[in-house]
């Protein structure tokens, strides 16, 4: 299965053969999971969303057109699921899941581990200041490397709208992330 392209794997699935399911999951689940986690701020919700994305991939395989990229289609499904999750009233005020931080390897010093954790929390808090549309756009652009055309397809808006969302997201993130850098500079000056 590893030697088959995405299109070839999906042709098998469309014909009713679900044996490529594991290979497709292994290829894309990490990206989908990380997108869902950063968007929904909850590991539990991200796990459910990730599983649901690939189940829908199997159930609705015939909707996938061979000339499109499988990643774009999977992210479309993921983005729709994440938006639906946020729309549900009881999920709106959910606090971010701060306990799920990938622990650095044992070779790192305690200071380095602390720095990594602080950086992650800082970035996560900055991302929380974005609107859902801006967060979706920046997650797909910055972390998944998708083009604005692909993001527009996923978000169901124009490329111009994607450009505006990414720009506004970066304006917010710049302010949120520069606070610490300023503090560091002041500490250095004081020393």
């Amino acid at each position: 299965m590893k030697h088959l392209s995405d299109q070839e794997l999906m042709k098998l699935v469309q014909a009713g053969d679900f044996s490529p399911a594991a290979e497709i999951f292994d290829r894309y689940s990490t990206r989908i999971y990380n997108f869902a986690y950063r968007f929904l701020k909850s590991s539990e919700a991200a796990e459910d969303a990730t599983q649901e994305v690939f189940v829908k991939m199997l159930k609705h395989a015939k909707q996938f057109h061979g000339d499109a990229k499988l990643s774009t289609w999977l992210f479309s499904i993921a983005a729709n699921l994440c938006r639906d999750h946020l729309r549900k009233a009881d999920n709106k005020a959910k606090e971010s899941d701060e306990t799920l931080v990938m622990l650095p390897s044992g070779d790192d010093s305690p200071e380095r581990r602390l720095e990594i954790r602080e950086n992650e929390l800082r970035v996560q808090k900055a991302l929380e200041q974005l609107t859902p549309e801006q967060r979706e756009a920046i997650l797909l652009s910055r972390y998944q490397g998708l083009s604005y055309a692909e993001i527009a397809q996923i978000a169901g808006c124009s490329e111009g709208a994607v450009k505006t969302r990414v720009f506004r997201a970066m304006e917010t993130l710049k302010k949120a992330l520069s606070g610490r850098a300023k503090g560091e500079a002041e500490c250095l000056n004081a020393m």
Binding site: G16, F18, A21, A22, F25, D26, S29, T30, Y33, N34, Y37, R38, S43, E47, T50, Q51, F54, V55, L58, K59, L100, M102, P104, I116, N119, E120, R122, V123, Q124, I138, S141, R142, Y143, G145, S147, Y148, A152, S158, E159, G160, A161, K163, T164, V166, F167, M170, L173, K174, L177, S178, A181
Partner: protein, 323 residues
């Protein structure tokens, strides 16, 4: 929108090098020469790099197990074989289905014939008009808390008042891109200098996105975009307009005048370069250029005080023309 605004809005794309080479060069030239934009660029880069400070999380193994279990269950459902129907029973079942469908349709038609209303054409709606409405016909709940302005209060006699105001209501016009009303509305938004810059820019982006996929845009829309290129005070809007004209096919000959005018007179080098690109696209599509356009390209190619990239692009375009 100033040139600084245009360049700053483009910065996220510059970070991932998703900008055409010439626009990228022009943008970086501006960043190097403008102190404010230089600072903005550095802080944007720093934020972009800082975003990478979060590690990629592994997918919990349980998620994979649950998914594969569900996939196996779904696969089992796919393999279920339909109960074989004996041939003669199938024939009888099909005949019975036809009787039910035909009989049911006739019966339902009889029942609804008396209730079937005459076909009524929906009224044509005017989007903008002065209206006087009797208070008894107005819904007092004011859903959405509309914004009201220019309010006037006029007593009429002893027991009537007239409250006049302009109200902002949110209207959605739904239709196909080639519907006359959609085209007229888009043209109006694009050319309406009273509308916010963002609304005009967004409308031009929509026009480019929608009509590029369809292959061409109506002459009315292309003329509206060309008019924006010629007259809009905001550089960012003019840049979007010339960008759209570069990508839309089916450009009418009179649009060449707008492109040539932009090439000669627009103060923004990015707009001038895009104008040359649009003219180059015309050449590639087999549409001839007017003598005025060719003369302008020649002048630009040798103009000492012109931006170097504009001069090079003009020379390249001239080399593609069979003179």
């Amino acid at each position: 929108m100033s040139e600084c605004d245009v360049v700053r809005e483009r910065m996220p794309q510059l970070l991932v090098e998703a900008v055409e080479p010439m626009l990228r060069e022009v943008s970086h030239q501006h960043v190097e020469s403008c102190e404010g934009c230089g600072r903005e660029w550095e802080s944007m880069r720093a934020a972009w790099l800082a975003l990478a400070d979060i590690p990629e999380l592994p997918v919990p193994a349980a998620v994979r197990e649950r998914f594969l279990a569900e996939a196996a269950r779904l696969s089992g459902e796919e393999k279920v074989v339909a109960f074989p129907v004996r041939r003669h029973w199938r024939w009888i079942a099909q005949a019975a289905a036809v009787v039910v469908l035909v009989g049911g349709g006739w019966f339902g038609g009889q029942q609804s014939a008396h209730r079937r209303p005459a076909t009524i054409e929906p009224p044509i709606v005017a989007l903008s008009e002065n209206v006087t409405i009797d208070a008894a016909r107005v819904n007092p709940s004011f859903l959405g808390r509309p914004a009201v302005q220019n309010v006037r209060f006029t007593p009429v006699g002893t027991d009537r008042v007239e409250l006049s105001f302009d109200v902002t209501s949110h209207v959605t016009v739904a239709g196909r891109p080639d519907d006359a009303a959609v085209i007229s509305l888009l043209s109006h938004v694009v050319e309406n200098n009273q509308a916010a810059t963002l609304a005009r820019s967004s409308a031009i982006d929509w026009i480019e996105d929608i009509y590029r996929q369809r292959g061409s845009a109506s002459p009315e829309l292309i003329k509206a975009v060309a008019n924006v290129l010629a007259t809009d005070a905001q550089e960012g809007v003019r840049l979007r307009a010339v960008d759209a004209l570069t990508r839309l096919s089916g450009l009418a000959p009179e649009v060449q005048l707008a492109l040539v005018d932009a090439l000669k007179n627009d103060p923004n080098p990015g707009v001038r370069m895009k104008a040359i690109e649009a003219l180059a696209n015309l050449v590639k599509s087999g549409t001839g250029l007017d003598p005025a356009a060719i003369d302008t390209l020649r002048d630009k190619a040798v103009q000492d005080d012109e931006n170097l990239y504009v001069r090079v692009k003009a020379a390249e375009t001239l080399s593609q023309i069979d003179l």
